[in-house]
């Protein structure tokens, strides 16, 4: 797929080199590239088309006076801005004004409603200082009630359930009564998964909504959903007129075009994104990050932010200098490991970089390998650490003893360190080596066919 959209767009514009202006003729190819990117990310075909038509109009109206900006970059910016605007809208909080506030959760089977309910309870309890009550209204799926109960216990929130009662309306109403009596101020109603085409089940959720009059109705959608996201979102919206969308399973590698399809179709804000199986993995939605993700540009902003939070700039400069002089030593290596570790699990950190994400999936990075490396470095004398070149057999033997690793491991590590040092020196002295990207656009004259 894409390394980055702007690279691809630049290629699309290369055919018309020298032409720094956007014209009907020279953007035709790039419009196709954009559409391709969107459809490849599971954005609904029709929406992708309408979107690119809009982008085209915008692009033709822009006067590119900036010589330093390539047409590809300019187009990317226009696309990004449009996409962010489309997915953003007003800041979307959650309405907690009710006494108690009632939140209704709805969605397809397997979209992640129950897990999200647990996460929302945790979020409201820890971040908003609320006293939530979880309500088990999925009376159909085997063990759904047990699942919610287990999650409730995990997050330390009470759960209302009536095993044996298969009337979700009655359960929800009694739960609200119970919340009033027990002083719980948010009632989170988890419901059974249902297909939009299942009229009976859709009627049921409409009845639940009508009976409990929730302040918030949240529609949970799997971020991996394909073209059907539009139909599903529309059907649910027609029937329960939800207030917001929750995107789940975003910790995978899906580009998440469903987010755009849903937002575009129903115009409702995306209020939360869910990114893992642990109860604290719930985030607010950032339209710009989602836009980059859909366009296959990596989550650069998140990466930069996390890096900024954790990264010591002076330290980085010092190391860069050492790299250039080929003076990078074991101490520096240790400090680098610690820097990276502060940012989180190494794979997820690297995975946020554009282009790297895809490559990284096949690479096995074991965090515990760092521990072994640390042990080995810490078994070196200060002199050895700052002078990697003095390493000899006796020293290696001693390091092996000290770190509890085998001599082979020590040898392998030092060899790897040397290779890495050479590589990094090369890159530090010639940064263009980092920016190598492959692939070409190829001419498409109609649709997506070549």
């Amino acid at each position: 797929m894409f390394e980055s959209l702007s690279d691809r767009l630049d290629v699309a514009f290369k055919a018309l080199r020298g032409d720094n202006k956007l014209t009907e003729l020279n953007i035709a190819e790039s419009i196709k590239e954009i559409r391709r990117a969107l459809v490849g990310a599971d954005v609904n075909y029709k929406i992708a088309k309408e979107f690119t038509d809009k982008v085209k109009d915008k692009a033709l109206g822009v006067d590119n006076v900036l010589k330093s900006v390539s047409p590809g970059q300019l187009m990317t910016k226009i696309v990004m801005d449009e996409l962010v605007e489309l997915m953003g809208g007003q800041a979307a909080g959650i309405d907690l004004s009710g006494k108690p506030t009632v939140v209704l959760i709805a969605g397809l089977q397997g979209s992640g409603k129950t897990t999200f309910s647990g996460k929302l309870a945790h979020h409201l309890k820890t971040k908003r200082n609320k006293k939530p009550l979880l309500v088990a209204c999925d009376v159909y799926r085997p063990a759904a009630i047990d699942q919610l109960s287990t999650l409730a216990e995990q997050v330390g929130v009470p759960v209302y359930k009536e095993p044996g009662n298969n009337n979700p309306v009655a359960i929800a109403l009694k739960a609200i009564e119970s919340a009033k009596q027990q002083g719980q101020d948010v009632v989170i109603v988890d419901t059974a998964g249902r297909l939009a085409v299942d009229e009976e089940m859709m009627k049921e959720i409409a009845n639940v909504k009508q009976a409990i009059l929730p302040q918030e109705v949240l529609f949970v959608v799997d971020s991996m959903t394909g073209q059907d996201a539009v139909n599903t979102a529309k059907a649910f919206n027609d029937i329960i007129d939800f207030d917001g969308v929750v995107l789940t399973k975003l910790d995978g590698d899906t580009r998440g075009g469903a987010a755009l399809s849903v937002k575009y179709t129903v115009g409702k804000p995306i209020k939360f994104v869910s990114t893992g199986e642990k109860m604290d993995t719930l985030d607010v939605f950032y339209p710009d990050r989602m836009a980059q993700r859909i366009l296959g540009m990596g989550d650069i902003v998140s990466f930069v932010e996390r890096a900024q939070e954790q990264f010591d700039e002076q330290e980085a400069k010092r190391i860069e200098k050492k790299l250039k002089k080929n003076k990078f030593d074991f101490d520096d290596f240790l400090s680098q490991i610690n820097q990276i570790r502060k940012m989180g699990d190494i794979k997820s950190v690297l995975g946020m970089l554009p282009g790297v994400g895809k490559a990284m999936k096949d690479v096995d990075i074991d965090d515990s390998a760092f521990k072994r490396v640390e042990a080995m470095i810490q078994s070196m004398t200060p002199h050895e650490r700052s002078n990697p070149d003095i390493m000899n057999m006796n020293r290696k033997k001693r390091i092996a003893m000290g770190s509890g690793r085998s001599l082979d491991e020590v040898n392998a590590f030092i060899r790897q360190f040397e290779q890495m040092r050479k590589m990094m020196h090369k890159i530090a002295t010639n940064p263009s080596l980092m920016g190598m990207t492959g692939g070409g656009a190829g001419g498409m004259n109609k649709g997506f066919r070549r």
Partner: protein
């Protein structure tokens, strides 16, 4: 209809029809609309066709492939009327599915001479692994086989309970070591249980996992290896469950699960709610792994054997 009668009794055909009703209405409806008022297959008709295919989650690559073939036919036949497009498209899709070189099953009969036949079930979160296991076990049970389910999802809240309920419904054996147990140990002991209790089939559930989580994917490898240790040659089938409403990510899922566990069969679930039976076409084209089963409803008997011809017929039936 003749074809159907061979493989399906009337009820089953009705299920398949109903199950992919949405696919049908969108697929055929859109196509008919797209070519209405046009007599020849020209560029614009092909563009419309492209939209119909992509909107059905067939996927970009496979869509391009199908259209290129039709383009080639247009070029060689010089003139191609739109009334023929339906038939040609149908035959091209059947061809594409057939190129996969995978044989459709006739029924739920298992290869003879393997006992217990061990099936390991894998997939991302929420695709319907446990439900598929329940339905599959029920089918085997109907055939008079003794089945044991192994509760290998020891991670997700109440997953063991959920499988247990299915085992009770089906009336089959159930093996569990509780929540938090080592899934590899559960797999090993489920096979041992099957050996000791004369079971014909052992179906091992695993926790849902996103294919991007390396550690969890490695865990699957470990579960598989411990199954082999328990019984040489096991698992005899690694069944990847895919959600039919999933978009292009289904392809990534298939790739990564195959790398981790040598997936040997696919089950496509939730085909009843999706306008997107098209994903079956994309997957068959991109993978040489057979789609064995399709889920077309929530009831226990709503699992079917995938049959290419029947699938395409249902897709094109007016």
């Amino acid at each position: 209809m003749g074809f159907f009668d061979k493989f399906f009794n009337r009820d089953k055909k009705a299920d398949l029809d109903k199950g992919i009703e949405k696919t049908k209405t969108t697929f055929i409806g859109k196509l008919t609309k797209a070519i209405a008022g046009r007599s020849t297959v020209d560029e614009e008709v092909l563009d419309e066709l492209e939209q119909v295919l992509i909107s059905s989650d067939v996927g970009l690559d496979t869509t391009v492939k199908i259209i290129e073939r039709i383009e080639a036919r247009v070029a060689s036949d010089k003139y191609l009327g739109t009334e023929e497009l339906n038939a040609i498209l149908r035959s091209e899709i059947v061809n594409l599915l057939a190129e996969n070189n995978t044989e459709d099953l006739d029924d739920y009969a298992l290869p003879s001479g393997i006992k217990p036949y061990v099936i390991m079930v894998v997939g991302v979160n929420g695709v319907g692994k446990t439900t598929t296991i329940g339905k599959l076990a029920w089918q085997f049970k109907q055939n008079g086989l003794r089945v044991v389910m192994g509760a290998g999802d020891t991670f997700r809240a109440a997953a063991v309970d959920q499988l247990k309920i299915w085992a009770d419904r089906v009336g089959c054996d159930f093996f569990s070591k509780g929540m938090q147990a080592d899934p590899a140990a559960v797999a090993y002991e489920t096979v041992q249980y099957a050996l000791q209790n004369n079971c014909d089939v052992a179906i091992i559930d695993t926790a849902g996992r996103l294919h991007t989580k390396i550690n969890l994917m490695q865990e699957l490898g470990k579960i598989k290896r411990s199954t082999s240790k328990s019984l040489e040659g096991a698992p005899h089938e690694v069944l990847l469950v895919l959600d039919a409403t999933t978009g292009q990510n289904a392809i990534e899922q298939a790739k990564h699960f195959t790398d981790a566990t040598e997936v040997s069969a696919l089950a496509l679930t939730k085909l009843d709610g999706s306008a997107k039976g098209g994903v079956a076409i994309g997957i068959s084209d991109q993978f040489k792994i057979p789609i064995k089963y399709i889920g077309v409803g929530e009831a226990i008997d709503k699992l079917q054997i995938f049959n290419k011809q029947a699938f395409v017929d249902a897709l094109f039936e007016q």
